[in-house]
Symmetry: C2
Subunit: 228 residues, 2 copies
């Protein structure tokens, strides 16, 4: 199967988990394309409580969904994510050793080494009854192992039962899982460590601290809306 | 052993992990006393990089250690934490069914149902050679199971090998552990779920979402520096 486009990581969803994943993956040089069925970034935050204060985002004593989204977009901006809005993913097909091809309802396709499912719960409502299969099932019927309404993942890599497909945020489940945005940020960071090892097997293995890496710092400060 | 004071939760450390734990535990009505060997809150952030920008705190594209500390203090303020600064913990003694008594170098003692170790790595440097024992060992020699320089915890409760003693932030270790502040926030949130079940066995078990709980919202908005 040949795809029209290619990127490093396809992220299904464009909510807080997905946006922070763009930043984390970007720190290791990985480019992302985000696909969301909504017409804008922010997921549940932007649609369900755009102007309702949230009090439990660490170090932001009170922030509404729109401001949180704007802040995460600004943080991700230096890594130049591509967004495909108002698109529904209909299948994720394995593609030899090269990862996956993700197909959308309008027939558009994009290839990537890994796929990260970062949808809210909404995407996982029962779909229209096609045969449940990873290669042909509509969204919500991918035969990935599930538990308590989420995709089962381990707490080291946040990888689903299908190697190369990861899940973070409200889409995933593991013992102790709490559906808080702050947990999605942690899940994005640990998923990133697994994905960077997968994508750069011969590369450097050190953790990239933004406070001490001058390469990263320069990239963030010079390419972005962030001013010191 | 009789202690001079009593609180719900003793937190060893007063850095970002500890400060966010105050907020999380406070959402469930639990009061905290924080003990730190430094003379102020903020831990490594306040001492090592007070004015150096950090770029990977989610939704804060650039923030220095002092501002991050101030933001976390403001978020914790409605829950009225007690701070004991310039104090070193010398022992944590079991106290029957009622938890633990924490003793400081100057002889001061405080009892609590649970203890959360949220020190940075610094506290765990080799101490002065007393017999390693939970009841008498100086800090750094508690016979809690350790791995890779941290206290071994599970990823559901973030509890150490000693039931009732938890560890979060740079002090803890589990497979996949990355020493990022954002992970400490997640660890604080999941630890809180375990601690509230321990402290209120007959109480409500629902998760407290700050966006939807009016009791919590009123408490945060009315008692604090946070203005809508």
């Amino acid at each position: 199967m040949k795809a029209e486009a290619r990127t490093d990581v396809v992220i299904v969803g464009a909510g807080p988990a997905a946006l922070f994943a763009v930043f984390q993956l970007g720190l290791y040089g990985l480019r992302c394309t985000l696909i969301d069925s909504l017409d804008r970034a922010g997921g549940q935050c932007a649609v369900l409580y755009p102007d309702k204060p949230i009090y439990d985002i660490p170090a932001l004593p009170a922030v509404d969904g729109l401001e949180l989204t704007a802040r995460l977009l600004a943080q991700a901006a230096p890594f130049d994510p591509a967004f495909l809005f108002s698109k529904t993913v209909t299948s994720i097909d394995p593609c030899g050793d090269e990862g996956f091809v993700t197909t959308m309802r309008d027939g558009a396709t994009i290839a990537s080494r890994v796929v990260v499912i970062a949808t809210g719960l909404g995407t996982f409502v029962p779909a229209d009854g096609g045969e449940p299969s990873l290669t042909a099932g509509p969204a919500g019927e991918w035969p990935l192992q599930r538990q308590s309404g989420g995709l089962s993942v381990d707490t080291e890599r946040f990888e689903t039962s299908r190697p190369g497909i990861f899940a973070i945020g409200d889409a995933c489940f593991y013992p102790g899982k709490v559906r808080l945005i702050l947990s999605a940020f942690h899940e994005a960071a640990l998923m990133t460590q697994a994905v960077r090892r997968l994508c750069t097997p011969g590369g450097r293995t050190g953790l990239n601290y933004t406070t001490s890496s001058s390469v990263t710092k320069n990239k963030i400060v010079n390419q972005s809306v962030i001013k010191e």
